[in-house]
Symmetry: C2
Subunit: 204 residues, 2 copies
DNA sequence: TCGTACGTCGTACGTTGTACGAAGAAGTAG
DNA sequence: CTACTTCTTCGTACAACGTACGACGTACGA
C-alpha cells in the first residue's frame, strides 16, 4: 500500500501499474493478487491510506479551530497526493479511515450545537470546499509562488488576448504583483465558510 | 467529440478507448488520430465540451442571482458528466470554453463591486464549492432520493455499528427521515457562500 | 511422512495507445 | 485529360496493461 502511494505520488496514478508496483517491491506481478483482489481494490485501499493521513478535528478546542485544523490538514494531504482527488469520483464505498474521519467531523459539529440536519449541511459545505479547492490546486500548472510569477508572465499573459479577456488579464496581473500562496488562499475562503456557519448553531 | 462525451457518460471514462470510440463512429481506430494528436488531447477537448454546456452568468441581474444561476448550471452539467470532474485534476491547460467561462465570471464579480484580489478570492471559493460538491455527488452510490432511502436502510446502516459510529448513524437516520435532494443541498451551501461574500463588495 | 494452507509467480489472453506507412479521395495546374 | 499535391482513412505491429489459471516451494500440525 505504502509503496503504491509513493509510486503514485512520484509518477502519477496513470503510471501505476500492477507490474511496476510489483517490480518496485521486488516481486512478481501476480503476487500482488494474493493481497488484493483487483487493481480497483488496490486503489480503494490507497484512498483510505490518504484519509488516514488527515488529522482528525481535535476535541479540546472550539469548533471553528477544530474544523480549521482538519481542513488545513486535509488540503495539505491532498496536495501531497493529488491523484487521490481524481480517484474519489469513481470510487463509491468509503474505507474505514474515511468513515472514522466522517464520524469525528460530525461529532465535532454536533457537540458544537449544530442540529442534526444542519450538521449534515455544514459537512457538505466544508467537504465541498476542501475537495474543490484541492481539485483546483491540483490542476494548477505550477507548485510555488515564484514558479507562478514566471509562468504568468511567460505563458498565461501572452496566451490571453487583452481585448478578449480583459478581466482575466487584470486579475492575472494583480495576482503576479501580490503573489499567490495556495495555503493563504485556502484559509481565506475557509474562514468565510466557518463564519457563515457560526450563526446556524443552537446554543446548548 | 460529442460521441466521445456520450460514450463516457454512458459507460464511464474508463471504458472510453480509441478503438471503441472509432467503432461507435463507424471508423477505423487510427482515423481518430487525424483529428486529435493523442488520447490526452481528446480528453482535454472533452472537458472543454463540458465547459461549453455550463451557462454563463447572465449580465442583466444582480450578482448573486447571476452567480447562483451559473453555479446551479455547473452542478447540473457536472452531474451529467461525472467523469469530467476526475479528469480536471490531471489536465492543466484550460481550453477556450473554460477561459470564456472564467472571464465571464470574473467580469460579473468585478462589475458587482468586488476589488480585483477579492474577486479572485471569491472565484476560488465559489469554484471550490461547485467542484467539490460535484465531486462528492459523483461518488454517491445512488442517484435518486428513493434509491438513497433504500440503500441507507439496507446497506449503510447495517454497515455502521452504532457504538463505533453513533453520530453517523444519527445523521443517516435523520437524512432518511427528511429525504435527501442533491439540488437542495447544493443551494443551501451556495446561498451561505454568496451571503458570506456580499459584505466584501465595495459600493461603486 | 503427509495433507493442508500460505505465499509466489510464469505463462497466456485479450485489450490498450499509438508509430509507421500505405492507400484512396479530392482538388488544382498544366 | 494528366500529373501532382493535399486531405483523409486505415491495416499492421509493438510494447505495456489487467488478470485468469494453474504450478510451485515452503511451513506446520497430525
Amino acid at each position: 500500500m505504502a509503496e503504491a502511494v509513493r509510486l503514485a505520488d512520484r509518477e502519477g496514478v496513470g503510471e501505476l501499474s500492477m507490474r511496476r508496483l510489483a517490480r518496485a517491491l521486488g516481486a512478481g506481478a501476480m503476487s500482488l493478487y494474493y493481497y488484493v483482489a483487483s487493481k480497483e481494490e488496490l486503489l480503494d485501499a490507497m484512498i483510505d491510506v490518504v484519509f488516514e493521513e488527515i488529522e482528525l478535528p481535535p476535541e479540546e478546542t472550539d469548533w471553528q479551530s477544530a474544523m480549521r485544523r482538519r481542513a488545513v490538514s486535509a488540503r495539505q494531504v491532498l496536495a501531497r497526493h493529488p491523484w487521490a482527488i481524481g480517484l474519489m469520483e469513481s470510487r463509491t464505498s468509503p474505507g474505514p479511515a474515511n468513515l472514522r474521519h466522517r464520524e469525528a467531523v460530525t461529532a465535532c459539529l454536533r457537540r458544537a450545537g449544530f442540529p442534526v440536519l444542519t450538521a449534515t449541511h455544514a459537512n457538505w459545505l466544508l467537504d465541498s470546499y476542501v475537495y474543490g479547492f484541492a481539485l483546483q490546486e491540483a490542476s494548477l500548472p505550477f507548485d510555488t509562488a515564484d514558479e507562478f510569477a514566471d509562468m504568468a508572465e511567460d505563458v498565461f499573459l501572452p496566451q490571453l488576448p487583452v481585448d478578449e479577456f480583459p478581466y482575466l488579464n487584470e486579475s492575472a496581473a494583480a495576482l503576479v504583483a501580490a503573489g499567490f500562496d495556495p495555503a493563504e488562499e485556502f484559509i481565506f475562503g475557509l474562514n468565510l465558510v466557518l463564519a457563515a456557519l457560526e450563526p446556524l448553531r443552537v446554543p446548548t
